[in-house]
C-alpha cells in the first residue's frame, strides 16, 4: 500500500516546535498531530508531512541542527 503520510518524530514538543518553525521558514507544509500509536509509545506530538516533501523536510531539519528521532511512512 502506498504511504499517505510521513511521520517525523522528535525528542520532545520543544523540538517539534523548533522543527515546525524551520519547516515553515523553508516553505514545507507540515501539521502537528498526536504521535500515532503504531509508530511510537510517547504521549506527545509529532510532525506529519506529505511523502513527496519528506526528503526536503529531513534536509531542512538537518541543516537547522534539529535531531529527527524517527521517520515513518503510514
Amino acid at each position: 500500500m502506498k504511504a499517505t503520510a510521513t511521520i517525523l518524530l522528535f525528542p520532545s514538543v520543544s523540538h517539534v516546535l523548533r522543527a515546525e518553525s524551520l519547516l515553515k521558514a523553508k516553505g514545507v507544509r507540515c501539521t502537528l498531530i498526536p504521535v500515532p500509536r503504531t509508530v511510537g509509545s510517547d504521549c506527545g506530538v509529532c510532525i506529519r508531512v506529505a511523502p513527496k516533501d519528506a526528503d526536503m523536510a529531513a534536509a531542512a531539519l538537518r541543516e537547522g541542527g534539529v535531531t529527527v528521532f524517527g521517520r515513518h511512512e503510514i
Binding site: P11, S12, S14, S21, P34, D42, C43, G44, V45
Partner: protein
C-alpha cells in the same frame, strides 16, 4: 525611548499619583500592559499543560513556551532557542549551574561584587570540598580581569561573575572574561539578572558558556520566571540537573532525558508567567535595548550629577554613567540608610531599597559594610520628572544646602 511616551504609558498603567518607584533592581514596575494581557490570555483561553497531552490546548501552551524561547533567543543573539532552560528565577538558574557543574576538588573563581545568589551556593559548595577564589575589586567595583586570569589553576572548572553589580551598577567586562575563559579552557557563568534587557548582550559576539537571567527585572516579565542559557561548550553528560521528573518527553523511560531543554525542566512550568515574560521580552525588543539603555543612561547621569551637588551626600561607584547600570547607591552622612529610605517613602512617596541589597561582599568591596546604603534603581518607565522629585526629596532629607 523618550521620556514622553513612557509617561503616557505610566498614566495608562493606573499608577498611583505622587508615587515614584525607584526599586527596579529588585523588580521592575510598572510592567508593559501586554505582559498582564498575555498572562490573562493563558489563564482564560489556554490553561493546559504544555507538551504533555498532544491536544490543541496542550500544543498551544507549548507554543507559548517556545515563543518565549524565541523572543529571548532573538534578544540575546542565541542561535538555538532550545538552549534556553526556563526556571523559577535567576537564583534557580545560578543554582542549577553551580551545583550541577562543581564537584569536590574543583576550583571556582568569582568576584568580590557578587550577589548572595552566587555567594551562598559557592559557600555551600566550599563546605563540600569545592575550592573557591574571590577576585578582589577596587571600591569602584570594577573588575581587574588580569587578576581573574592570575587566579586560575589547573583545577579551575568555572569562572562566575556578575555582569553588573546589583548594588552600585558597575558593569563588568564581559568580552574580556569570555576571552580569558576560552583561552584557558574553563567555563564562564555570568549572572545577568540585572543586565538582560537593560544592556545589549549578543551571545554570538560574546559567547558566554552559561548565562543566568531573571524574567522580572529588565525583561519586564512577572516574578517567578527566569532561565539559564547553556552554550555548546558545556558538557551535558557531566552536568546533572538539580531536579528529575516529568518532562512530557520520553514518557516510557524511567531515566531523565539527556537533551536540552528537557533535562533541566522537570515538572509543570509556570506557563502563565513565561507567557508574560515572552510579552515583556517582545516589548523590550520592540523598543530596542539600545534605546532603553540610552534613556536609562541619560537619567543615571542626571541622578548622579544631582546627588553629587548635594552637601552631606556620598555617592558610590564609577562617575561615568556609561560604565554602570541605572543603579545608584548613596548615603546621607550621619543618617541610617533604612531611616532615609523610610522618610523617602513616607514623606515623599519615593520607594527604594536601603541596606545591603543581598550582596554583603559587594558592600565590603565598596567600604559600606555593614551599614549599607540607599539604592535608587531606574527602568525604561522612569522619567526625568521622577529623578527631579527624588533629588528634591534627598536634598530635603540631607538638610540645609549651602
Amino acid at each position: 525611548m523618550r521620556a514622553e511616551p513612557a509617561e503616557v504609558l505610566i498614566t495608562y498603567h493606573f499608577r498611583m499619583p505622587k508615587l515614584v518607584y525607584l526599586d527596579n533592581a529588585a523588580t521592575t514596575w510598572p510592567k508593559p500592559r501586554a505582559v498582564t494581557k498575555a498572562m490573562a490570555h493563558f489563564m482564560e483561553k489556554v490553561g493546559a499543560n504544555p507538551g504533555r497531552s498532544g491536544h490543541r490546548l496542550s500544543v498551544a501552551a507549548a507554543r507559548l513556551l517556545y515563543q518565549a524561547r524565541q523572543e529571548i533567543a532573538a534578544l540575546l543573539g542565541c542561535d538555538d532557542p532550545l538552549r534556553i532552560v526556563f526556571c523559577a528565577n535567576g537564583t534557580a538558574a545560578l543554582n542549577i549551574a553551580l551545583h550541577g557543574l562543581l564537584r569536590p576538588g574543583d576550583h571556582a573563581v568569582c568576584t568580590s561584587m557578587e550577589h548572595n545568589s552566587v555567594m551562598r551556593p559557592l559557600r555551600a559548595l566550599e563546605q563540600q570540598g569545592v575550592l573557591v577564589s574571590i577576585v578582589q575589586c577596587p571600591p569602584s567595583g570594577e573588575l581587574p580581569v588580569e587578576a581573574v586570569e592570575r587566579s586560575l589553576t589547573p583545577r579551575t572548572r568555572l569562572v562566575v561573575a556578575t555582569h553588573a553589580s546589583n548594588v552600585v551598577g558597575t558593569l563588568l567586562p564581559l568580552d574580556q572574561l569570555v576571552e580569558v575563559a576560552r583561552r584557558h579552557e574553563v567555563l564562564l557563568l555570568v549572572d545577568a539578572a540585572q543586565t538582560t534587557g537593560a544592556i545589549p548582550i549578543d551571545l554570538r559576539r560574546t559567547p558566554v558558556d552559561l548565562l543566568a537571567f531573571t524574567g522580572h527585572k529588565s525583561l519586564f516579565g512577572p516574578p517567578g520566571t527566569g532561565g539559564l542559557i547553556i552554550g555548546p561548550r558545556v558538557p551535558l553528560q557531566e552536568f546533572p540537573p538539580l531536579l528529575q521528573g516529568g518532562t512530557g518527553s520520553l514518557s516510557e523511560a524511567e531515566y531523565q532525558p539527556d537533551f536540552l531543554p528537557d533535562k533541566y525542566e522537570s515538572g509543570t512550568p509556570n506557563v502563565a508567567g513565561i507567557a508574560g515574560l515572552a510579552a515583556g521580552a517582545h516589548w523590550v525588543r520592540k523598543h530596542g535595548v539600545e534605546e532603553i539603555r540610552a534613556h536609562e543612561e541619560a537619567l543615571t547621569a542626571q541622578l548622579l550629577s544631582g546627588l553629587k551637588e548635594l552637601a552631606g551626600v556620598t555617592v558610590y561607584g564609577p562617575d561615568d554613567p556609561s560604565c554602570r547600570l541605572a543603579v545608584v547607591l548613596f548615603n546621607v552622612d550621619g543618617q541610617d540608610p533604612a531611616l532615609v529610605a523610610h522618610r523617602l517613602d513616607k514623606e515623599h512617596g519615593i520607594m527604594c531599597r536601603p541596606g545591603l541589597q543581598c550582596a554583603p561582599i559587594a558592600h565590603k568591596t565598596l567600604g559600606t559594610f555593614p551599614k549599607g546604603g540607599v539604592r535608587f534603581s531606574l527602568s525604561a518607565f522612569t522619567t526625568r520628572r521622577d529623578v527631579e522629585r527624588a533629588l528634591r526629596a534627598v536634598a530635603a532629607i540631607a538638610g540645609p544646602q549651602r
